[in-house]
Amino acid sequence: MTPDSLGDARRHWERETLAKTLARFPEREGKFETLSGLEIDRLYTPLDGEGRGYGEEIGFPGEFPFTRGIQPTMYRGRLWTMRQYAGFGSASETNRRFKYLLEQGQTGLSVAFDLPTQIGYDSDDPLAEGEVGKVGVAIDTLADMETLFDGIPLAKVSTSMTINAPASILLAMYAVVAEKQGAPLDKLSGTIQNDILKEYVARGTYIFPPEPSMRLVTDLFAYCAESLPVWNSISISGYHIREAGSTAVQEVAFTLANGVAYVQAAKRAGLDVDTFGPRLSFFFNGHIDFLEEVAKFRAARRLWARLMRDRLGAKDPRSWMLRFHTQTAGSSLTAQQPLNNVVRTALEALAAVLGGAQSLHTNSFDEALALPSEDSVRVALRTQQIIGHESGVADSVDPLGGAYLIESLTDRIEAEALRYIDEIDRLGGAVAAIEKGFVQKEIEDSAYRYQRLVEEGRRTVVGVNAFQVEDEKMPPLLEVDPEVGRRQMATLSEVRAGRDAKAVTSSLEALREAAVATDAALMPRIVDAVRRYASLGEICHVLRGVFGEYAGAGR
């Protein structure tokens, strides 16, 4: 059927078939919108893809623009990495949880650090009070890192570390532990988040102002390019932007705009884009609007390929590939009727798989209440295993590709994200847009709009504003040992007492000098300090002294 006659046929259908039904059965809403407010039409047909070139816009998996996936065989070759984010209490407790997850068939590790670690304070710092070991594991010195990975061969497992402002310090500790295990550094695989820009707008664990922070980021790129060639030197994260309330379009736009800023900063620091480009990785949210999410992942992949090739000058096809981790949406979980969260998470995980994720974390059903228990985390992992091994969706590449709605939504999300990136460029790029508070304001507005929709009953959240029950039975929750802070302080003072104090002081002084000299490499000095059991807080104290602290935009 040619488009003209298809158009005629569609008009005929509207007149003869649709109109009669609408007259008798009006639709549920006047207008249907995605979770992000994109209007969804009643029906999509080949007419919606008119003028879209298959080769230019969709293409083949493993080839530019990678809309259908970054590998030619995708999950027919290997399933995604099943990687549950975990960490609480002390290093030895988290070590036990890691071993449990590996025994249950998890294929990669992901470390959650506590807030003092993420913000560069030792466990005995007064500002750490009440926070030690709460949202992740407490790491003060190399000794804790040795305990954390005790009995886990780092040459064989891939590890992701959610750490940003002090990323260099934790990566240095990881490398030294690997070295002590006899693991060759050029084989170490994993990811360090190292994405400071989204901390300023969404996640809040910044330490230093943007300029020295960007230096730390690109310094780590250079170290990885030289010493850890298969390590992902950054995970440019839209996850937290979305959790903070952004739309799907904003998630793609702000994440890729940050990506552009990192590439530009590294180029300014003298790095060739194709030396670090293939090791950039991404991290997106798997939210509850299923079709929008599938389209979002595809749009992000295509847009990044175009930005890297056409705008940033990358020549190596591996630099064009957007490889990404997904976590299901914590903000979609409800404290009410928590078992319903198993279903939400399954839908979100399925969207991530149909969107071509390289690795995936599925949230546990009790996470709107507390950190996950062993039982709830097992159900979350099983959800991935059921999708991978039972559902059949992993057996063909990009199985939703070519669906009229999916392709149309993919085009729209890409176009709207690009419009945002243009706007950010006009403000002077991502760093300037963040310093001006533009990105923060956009996210806050979206978060508020969503809250209003829920409170006005225009968005239904099952169990929250509809289908509530009285007297719910709550699942047993994980309790973090309240003594963990005290024990962690004892461990730290033991380490301090047992180390060579002079060597620590001189290594910290060497780091300070490198930090002051604006063009010196920092990573070798940090590795040296870490090796001598200088603590994270001591190293950050030195860097705070030179770089200062970020006071917040628009406070």
Partner: protein, 136 residues
């Protein structure tokens, strides 16, 4: 201390937790409900929050924590307020707070705990009632 005028609220993030979507949404909703609201930003110590309540002549201090530090930090804020003679300031809390923790927080002087999914209208209503009582 009878006084009139708009209800004054400090919304604060004690501790190191950086998740402030909820705090910002609540702050904006209370503003839309006609209150004067100051959001302190991240990483506030209990001392600084109490100082802000003093400086701003607040009727209400709303605390948000998603990191699990509420058990230690919310009671500390209440103590710091009392030290400054602000024992009658209404302290409320929200975030990821297990139901089992609420009684201890109430015992420590927190007036109400609003968990995930709480409508902002419910928070506003609670505040209006409590402030009316306080202002006499």
């Amino acid at each position: 201390m009878a006084r009139s005028g708009p209800i004054r609220v400090i919304v604060a993030k004690p501790g190191l937790d950086g998740h402030d979507r909820g705090a910002k949404v609540v702050a904006r909703a209370l503003r839309d409900a006609g209150m004067e609201v100051i959001y302190t930003g991240l990483r506030q110590t209990p001392e600084r929050i109490a100082e802000a309540a003093l400086d701003e002549d607040a009727d209400v201090v709303g605390l948000s924590s998603l990191s699990g530090a509420h058990r230690v930090l919310f009671p500390r804020v209440v103590d710091e307020l009392r030290k400054r003679g602000l024992g009658d300031v209404i302290v409320i809390g929200g975030g990821i707070i297990p139901a089992g923790d609420a009684p201890a927080l109430i015992q420590a002087g927190v007036r109400a705990v609003f968990g995930p999914g709480s409508p902002t209208s419910e928070i506003a209503e609670f505040i209006r009632g409590a402030v009316k009582e306080r202002r006499g």
